[in-house]
């Protein structure tokens, strides 16, 4: 059964079109990951309009490739330039850059590549193993369970992202509010549309994503006059020694475990996973003082965690229809655009999509390694592109992409408005990720609340009397209580992160 599914998946993944888009996605993802100032969320939201014409498998394969490709690319910049291309690669700077300074950039990069591939392959098998059973459990969910689950996911994202929980939860609920804008399905009444016809269908999440992430970040970067002249170090001798290989094995496996665990949890993301993996290695090492000065475990574990969590985060998104991070929310949005309803039925209704995606992740990870090791010199060259050439291009792609959604100038005004809002929120240290999640999950929250109340004839205790729902609510309360416990090492993360905004989880 399991093998049949994988065979089906490989059949889909190896089709020339899908293979092409897999390569394209992985390459583009690495490129984006290497470049600081451009992250996977921005890229994925920019490319979403472009995927309209593609078959859903190809679109999803490419977007997924961008996602885990970016994870890998980010660490390349982290190792070579002490600058994480994506915020999740920040931890890799700690030991990767010292390794490069010691002339060991090659083995460091190779370690990152090997860790990524191994974690990716293991992660893919985990998805294949756990997604179907999870789906079976999820099929027993009904309105109260979904309500509690969504609530938990929103609070989880708020609790586990940077910044205060209070702000995160507020952002999440504001997102829910924005998600409600438009005609109410149950009653046909337009809500919060201020009389504008254009808002009747609600605000497209791409517009919000581009505004809050792409434009806000560009404004913020321009404000801090990002300098673009970097010092690079020479890369020679890619092969790690046998001693290196031996040293990195267990960290890779442990990192994969951390990554898979945190990836499935809504809210926790690659950053938490890679950080936790790093701290674990450091604490359990025989000589912790090596860390920070070029310990190979310090590169292997976080890299494995990064990639594993990227894959694992697909599980709740594809099986439950609950995205655990802003990027996954965008993937969900991409599915919805193609008319596919995410949820427990996804695997049974669209097996070629699910298994094709899983198989493509396996292929994509291998392509990552093959493609990237020789291409490192090119990435280093690309890093020399000045930001002042890059950001107008981003604005252009974003604007045209938004315009082609509905050919409406109103969409651009809205995007500009959200850009302004995003900038103000950045200044006020409010995280945009919970907002996007709230927006996408908002309708689900309301609908399930309504239904649960109809079923229980207005008795709110239904959420607590049903066991699964109660379990989710307990977790929600735990997330909220975590606000009162100081986040250990949170200080350390903000010291090593050099990106002004946190757009990736």
């Amino acid at each position: 059964m399991f093998l049949d599914n994988l065979m089906l998946g490989f059949g889909v993944a190896f089709s020339p079109v899908n293979l092409l888009y897999c390569v394209a996605g992985v390459t583009l993802g690495t490129f984006i990951g290497v470049l600081p100032g451009l992250g996977p969320i921005v890229t994925i939201s920019m490319l979403l309009p472009l995927t309209f014409g593609l078959p859903p498998e190809a679109a999803l394969i490419m977007l997924a490739g961008i996602f885990y490709g970016a994870m890998y690319g980010g660490s390349t910049a982290a190792i070579l330039l002490n600058l994480p291309g994506v915020p999740t690669a920040a931890v890799v700077c700690l030991d990767g850059y010292p390794m490069a300074r010691q002339g060991r950039a090659g083995p460091a990069l190779a370690t990152a590549a090997i860790a990524s591939v191994v974690a990716g392959i293991i992660g893919t098998f985990l998805i294949a193993l756990f997604a179907p059973p999870l789906t079976t459990i999820a099929l027993r969910f009904s309105a109260p369970e979904y309500f509690s689950l969504v609530l938990m996911a929103l609070c989880g994202v708020a609790a586990l992202s940077k910044g205060s929980l209070l702000k995160g939860v507020s952002m999440a609920f504001c997102g829910v509010l924005v998600g409600i804008v438009g005609i109410d399905i149950s009653s046909g009444v337009p809500r919060y549309t201020f009389g504008t016809l254009a808002l009747y269908d609600g605000i497209h999440f791409i517009i919000v994503a581009m505004g809050l992430f792409a434009f806000a970040e560009i404004i913020s970067n321009l404000e801090t006059h990002r300098e673009t002249g970097y010092i690079t170090s020479k890369v020679k001798g890619l092969m790690p020694t046998r001693k290196d290989l031996k040293a990195m094995t267990m960290p890779i496996l442990r990192g994969t475990a951390f990554g898979s665990f945190f990836g499935i949890l809504p809210g926790a993301g690659a950053t938490t996973a890679s950080f936790a993996a790093y701290m674990f290695e450091k604490r359990s090492a025989k000589d912790p003082s090596r860390f920070g000065h070029g310990a190979i475990e310090g590169v292997a574990a976080p890299e494995a965690a990064n990639n594993a969590s990227a894959q694992a985060s697909f599980i709740p998104t594809l099986t439950l229809g609950i995205p655990g991070s802003a990027t996954m929310a965008l993937m969900l949005g991409a599915l919805m655009i193609h008319g596919i309803n995410p949820g427990p039925r996804l695997i049974s209704d669209h097996p070629e999509l699910f298994w094709g995606l899983v198989a493509s992740m396996l292929i994509g990870n291998i392509i990552l390694v093959i493609l990237n090791l020789p291409l490192i010199r090119i990435w280093v060259l690309i890093l020399r592109i000045p930001y002042r050439w890059l950001y107008p291009a981003v604005v252009m792609f974003a604007c045209v992409g938004i315009f082609i959604i509905d050919r409406s100038a109103v969409d651009l005004w809205l995007a500009a408005g959200f850009g302004l809002l995003g900038y103000i929120l950045l200044k006020l240290k409010c995280e945009p990720a919970p907002f996007v999640l709230g927006m996408i999950l908002g309708p689900m929250l309301e609908e399930n609340f309504r239904r649960a109340m109809v079923v229980s004839s207005g008795d709110p205790m239904i959420f607590v009397t049903r066991p699964i729902s109660a379990a989710f609510l307990i977790l929600t309360v735990l997330f909220i209580l975590s606000m009162f416990i100081k986040k250990p090492g949170a200080k350390m993360v903000t010291e090593s992160e050099t990106q002004p905004s946190g757009d990736e989880k």
Binding site: C174, L177, V189, R191, Y192, I219, E223, V395, G419, M453
Partner: protein, 150 residues
């Protein structure tokens, strides 16, 4: 008192409280219904209450806890104004004058948002972006976009 008013938490709290109250006020126009048969206004009203409450809590944080009183940094109006203008104007310009003019105007405005932009680079930037956009969107993806005002 001044530091209080400028702290992240306070300002964010004010904004959230405002949004929450506005949400509640507007929701009054829709039917509420009962808990077991919710009208369109019920959930938004509930949301409004929650958001307002959270906003007020945020506002109180710097009052009660000293370490919450970090103030926001300086705001540089230039990138903000130009990027916003660049994006907002794009749609209207394209609708009226075509894609090429639209991209060009957008580029000029976006370019102006950076302090390190040089005049020499502006024209090549406009040309490259136009070619890229037309190449990818019009030819590559077969979108029919009006190129010019002719």
């Amino acid at each position: 008192m001044a530091t209080l008013l400028k702290s992240h938490d306070f300002l964010a709290g004010v904004i959230f409280a405002f949004i929450g109250i506005a949400a509640m006020a507007i929701a009054q126009n829709y039917q509420m219904g009962t808990l077991s048969r919710m009208g369109p206004g019920f959930f938004p009203f509930l949301l409004g209450i929650v958001i307002t409450a959270l906003g007020v809590m945020l506002m109180l944080r710097p009052v009660l806890f000293a370490e919450s009183r970090e103030s926001i940094g300086r705001l540089d109006p230039r990138p903000m104004l130009f990027i916003i203008a660049s994006v907002a104007s794009f749609g209207t310009v394209v609708e009226n004058a075509g894609l090429i003019v639209g991209i060009s105007v957008m580029t000029v405005l976006a370019w102006a948002g950076s302090r390190s932009s040089s005049l020499r680079e502006l024209v090549p930037l406009i040309v490259v972006l136009n070619i890229t956009a037309i190449g990818i969107f019009v030819f590559g993806l077969n979108m029919s976009l009006r190129l010019g005002f002719w």
